[in-house]
Symmetry: C2
Subunit: 388 residues, 2 copies
């Protein structure tokens, strides 16, 4: 897996740009190819996602994406749908294509109507800059940032095929509501159907291990477009896509709202893959584990407790629990027995800013990995005054 | 429903006491009667609960309860079981009864062994004070407080029957792991089987609407003992028990870790009771709703979003959403339409310290109520350094 520069514009034929004004921004991406998407399972689905899902179902192709920050355009009824369609028409007109080949996405406050005048103005600014140079990808990523503190983009080349993506999403510290938008590009030659299957697998091991399934925002969307210029083996593409999605998930966890530390959970020895995923996610999502990480408090009972309520098959007498970080490793529990005298080293490891929590359930061979960050004062600050 | 003084000792025949030393404490309660209990569903169940469940199954009666703070005695294997049995033996010896008629409960750090020398010392202190005067109930409640900031007790008399309880539990702001211990007493004459059914119903509408089902601590326990001195109608007893449990749940929410504000969710118009409960709980448990309450930010989209992912049947076009507090009421959404100009009053109501969030799903007749508190800096402080 070779890292390359340029973000999504590292895939030939992908152009991007963005424009911002205060909390509002518009990102444009132009690229022609087969396409697939995954959307929130929230029963309140934002208008732009309804429009995008309809478009993808109709054509299986995309020519471009228009996305905005500043307003989620969710819970906005008929007017919201009209606004989303208008955004698609704006970009379709400029690209000279059918609006059914345009995807629309939004992030921001729920239950407010779009300021379409401002969107049109930002669209004009952005369309004049649409290009494929090195800064274009980051400019698009920046245009849709909300509480994100940095641009999150990646591009790789793997056995001749390129896969790249940008992602927006920072509220992942608490999996409830923060919107994730991810736009992926590849030069692989794949049908929309194949793309969809690969996307689903990659998302399962990456973004879904950061969020809790089902507890998604009204606006979450992951889109992939394949320009079709490169013939490659499906497994090479899948491997590259999975790598890109996991790296983007890691970037999101590291940029979690108010986050000061990053941690991963590594579950091994689970009876089934489902069990491994349940346990890895429960620990990564536990507010008490997150606050303990923030405070470098080696309160490992909270980890055991989260595994206990995760729904995963578990026998306390078989659990092994350790921490890895700062080039060290320590076990607090081995095969169900408490290791005396481990707490000092555990505290030392937890004082680092990148920690791996290792849980072996001792029941089988299934594994999973979860991604998380700590819960801090800054998280409370950010979310106590979001709309104001 | 008449409120009476004395906490659990308002039920004739109930004696209580407590002793503390630093983070450790021992509470004793003596009362003879039929009994029932409900315990955590966590797969890591603390040793004292294993012992108590075994005792209740064997005898269906209790003569006393011994509970400690300072150590959860969870994930402590065989040694933990022996320590819990030893605690039962201590109290059984003093009361001159079979240890199988003693309940044991613990709260504190998971994965540490009991300091049995200290427990024995505190037991000696407490047993010398066992009594039924007005301060005894509060003394027992205080002995098992952890991050609780105040004693939580209640007693009522309703159509001749008395029901009373004390409760410990303060981490309810995040339903993951904080232990709840609740000891209920009544003078009603009921079989253990009947008690169990009534307890289950009452817990469902009270403590379970504060926590999320299944996501319980390793140590959660609710016990009820009926001394059998009063013949009463089952429905009168049930009503009193439900009232007591709901009031105790409210006290817990108000005393949530770091909480500065209390709120309730009232869901109406749900298609089924299950739906109503799912929606009421999801909103009460959402970290983003909690931080918005803390910041008095009328970001009602987060409420809609939580309903959307709750699993409840929902049609955005039929939802009505309002706030009540400070003697005012305001609707931000009526039958799916956003009410313009409501935000200022919403902000005013949210600046109060007791808020009701009203959600009508417009789909049926089922209702439910959830209990919550805000998420504050103080919560992060408390949980970042719990074991240290």
């Amino acid at each position: 897996m070779q890292m390359i520069d340029g973000g999504i514009c590292a895939v030939p034929g992908v152009r991007a740009s963005g424009a911002r004004q205060g909390k509002w921004g518009v990102a444009l991406i132009a690229a022609s190819g087969t396409a697939a998407g995954m959307f929130t399972t929230n029963k309140v689905r934002a208008a732009p996602l309804d429009v995008t899902a309809e478009h993808l179902a109709a054509t299986g192709r995309l020519e471009g994406v228009i996305a905005n920050s500043g307003c989620a355009n969710a819970f906005t009824g008929q007017r919201g749908l009209e606004d989303a369609r208008e955004m698609a028409r704006l970009l379709a007109g400029f690209l000279g294509t059918d609006e059914k080949k345009i995807a629309v996405a939004s992030t921001g406050v729920i239950g407010r109507y779009m300021d379409m005048e401002l969107v049109a103005k930002l669209f004009e600014d952005a369309k004049a800059k649409l290009r494929d140079d090195k800064g274009a990808s980051a400019e698009a990523a920046r245009a849709i940032m909300t509480t994100d503190t940095r641009v999150k983009e990646i591009a790789v080349e793997h056995k001749g095929v390129r896969v790249a993506g940008i992602v927006k999403g920072a509220g992942m510290i608490e999996p409830n509501v923060a919107t994730m938008l991810c736009f992926l590009y590849t030069d692989a030659d794949l049908t929309a159907e194949t793309l969809k299957g690969c996307l689903k697998d990659a998302v399962q091991d990456s973004f879904n291990m950061l969020t809790v399934d089902g507890d998604t925002s009204t606006n979450d969307a992951v889109l992939i477009t394949a320009t079709g210029q490169v013939k490659c083996r499906l497994e090479d593409f899948s491997e590259a896509l999975r790598y890109v999605c996991i790296e983007l998930a890691r970037m999101m966890a590291k940029d979690g709202e108010g986050a000061s530390k990053y941690f991963e959970t590594k579950v091994t020895g689970a009876k089934s893959e489902r069990d491994a995923r349940l346990a890895a996610k429960a620990v990564a999502a536990s507010s008490l584990v997150k606050t303990a990480v923030f405070g470098a408090d080696p309160n490992w009972g909270r980890i055991i407790c989260a595994v206990g309520y995760s729904g995963a098959e578990m026998d306390p007498a078989k659990v092994t629990l350790g921490l890895e970080g700062k080039g060290q490793e320590v076990f607090m529990v081995k095969a169900g027995s408490i290791v005396e005298g481990a707490l000092e080293q555990a505290r030392e490891i937890m004082s680092g800013d990148s920690i791996t929590i290792k849980i072996d359930l001792g029941l089988g061979k299934a594994t999973a990995r979860g991604f998380g960050c700590d819960l801090t004062h800054e998280y409370v600050n950010i979310n106590a005054n979001y709309t104001t």
